[in-house]
Amino acid sequence: MNLLLEGVPRSALILLALFFAALIAAPMVLNDYLIVVLITILYFAYAGQCWNIMMGFAGQLSLGHALYIGLGAYVTAALYVKFGVSPWIGLLPALVIAGAVGAVIGFLAFRFGVSGVYFAILTIAFAEFARIGFDHFPWVGGAAGYFLPVANYTQNDFFNLRGSQTMFYYILLAMTVLAFVLCHLLLRSRAGYYWLAIRESPEAAEALGINIFRYKMYAVVLSAALTSLGGVIFAFFYNNLFPEQVFHISRSIELILGPIIGGIGTLFGPVVGAFLLTGLAEGLREVMLRLGIDLPGVKQVFYGICLLCVVMFLPEGVWPPLKKKLGLDRDTGKKGS
């Protein structure tokens, strides 16, 4: 507990507690539509947090995280549909497979000194590979898609992840909180400090005796494995999987917009980014609906313009300046929050 709370300003704790309480109470007051919006937000916050371990902490830009989402989704869905394996058990092989794939990509890239833009494009290449591969993998439906059986659930079957939106909401909330706490602890661990050192200057980190290959590998494997859990929820919430959608590059990009907009390398960045972007998208949808504009593309054009403005005027993302405004950065001596 000491490690968890040490050096966190009191005002931050109070705000965090209020925020958390509001999230817990949310399903009791919100309608179904808003709960789905919140689920989307939490999903992006969770996945963004996982991606942030790799990019924000260790400085390795992955543009192919849809690969791990897709692996998690397909592995658990196939085990459930074909063998009736509960997703809670199925997520273990999913974790292992996604982690192993991450390890292979990381091993190949870091062994051969592939970094920066080249590494980013290598990650895209593997995700695209998986997309086309699953398109031609008839065992899980190929390009025609893979479907989980759905029924009208009157009771939540927690063990098989079949049930109401509210159940998924609370599971995702728990996952997001756990990921947040884990990242908070990681940043204060030896590995966390090593990652930041590698991010800032790989040469200097190596000169100080850090095994940069090993620590970059830890970041990739951890990030890949945790991201696959997001895929498990994705599969069981949406109940249908198409390679063209699950593994598509736009999915990878969508996933990393949150942490970049929120503030890369910060703990709150992915959460703030997810709220802002999903809020923005839904807000635009609502405005278009009210104005009676029903043209494809209008919403996304505005979305793009908003992104452009944020990137141009807030180079560090939204969270760092927001944190200053809220007066939460008194704790300047320590990294974190």
Binding site: V117, A120, E128, I132, D135, L257, G297, V301, G304
Partner: protein
């Protein structure tokens, strides 16, 4: 019989590959000089392709005649983008530049969707159904014209960078940013010029590609990826590398699509990309220092 079919497919792959090479050349020039990875590259090409459709349906102009005007339009677009939006990002971290260009790409794709709708559109030229018969091997005339035009543009570009003073100044910026500043070059203007030239390449490639294929607004990201694959295979920043990479990828996709299934063809180019990244990260024609 089968050798003839395979040869036909291979030649048509090489011809399409030359046009791809020209598209990738634009990306390579921009990265080589400005050091920004243009994630909106394919989207810029779809803009050029839709310009072809507009001019073709309004004025009935042949794509080969539109090559220069459309390249000029794209040049202006690229120049303005660099001047107004990208220049302030030159010293920002990679992920920040990436975000900027992703946002631009998003706006481009959806603006096209808004204007032209989601359906695939194409043009039919007077020579669309013509073909050449070379010793029993039948080659589409459109592909031949497109490839020749792409080659001419590429050669003109090489000449520009080798022979003109502006071309040399741009290469100086690429070789040594600070040195270029010290000798009094207007680096910001040269960067804008370079981005414009890269965009013009894409404009020319898009115009030529319209002769052989159709376009949808959503195809942009696929072309961006294709350009990445080609440029990295050939060597990021190497001009001949882009053309060689284009031919190699064009050939691979054509043969892969023929021997396996067309929908799996990009898998082969990604396989080549992965192999190149692992065993020769600087690319086939790239210099070791990259």
């Amino acid at each position: 019989m089968t050798t003839e079919v395979v040869l036909k497919i291979a030649i048509s792959g090489v011809l399409t590959g030359l046009v791809y090479g020209l598209m990738a050349l634009g990306l390579s020039v921009i990265f080589g000089v400005v050091r920004v990875v243009n994630f909106a590259h394919g989207e810029m090409m779809t803009i050029a392709m839709y310009l072809v459709i507009v001019f073709f349906s309004a004025l009935g102009l042949d794509p080969l005649l539109m090559l220069v005007p459309i390249s000029a339009v794209l040049f202006a677009l690229g120049y303005l983008m660099q001047r107004a939006i990208i220049n302030p990002f030159i010293n920002r971290p990679e992920h920040s530049q990436f975000m900027l260009l992703v946002a631009i790409a998003l706006i481009m794709v959806n603006a096209l969707l808004l204007i032209f709708g989601p359906d695939s559109q194409g043009i039919t030229t007077s020579y669309s159904f013509d073909s050449f018969d070379i010793g029993g091997i039948i080659i589409d005339a459109g592909k031949v014209y497109a490839a020749i035009a792409a080659l001419i543009v590429a050669v003109a570009l090489f000449a520009f960078f080798r022979l003109t003073l502006t071309g040399k100044a741009i290469r100086a910026c690429a070789d040594n940013y600070n040195g270029a500043l010290v000798v009094g070059l207007d680096v910001k203007r040269l960067y804008a010029l370079t981005f414009g030239i890269g965009a013009a390449c894409v404009g020319a490639a898009g115009t030529m590609l319209m002769i052989v294929t159709d376009v949808t607004p959503a195809i942009g990201p696929a072309y961006t990826l294709l350009a990445f694959v080609i440029v990295i295979t050939g060597g990021l920043g190497s001009m001949p590398g882009a053309i060689v990479g284009g031919i190699l990828i064009g050939l691979t996709e054509a043969l892969g699509g023929f021997f396996f299934t067309p929908s799996a063809k990009t898998m082969f180019s990604f396989a080549i990309l992965v192999l190149v990244l692992l065993f020769r990260p600087q690319g086939i024609m790239g210099r070791k220092t990259a």
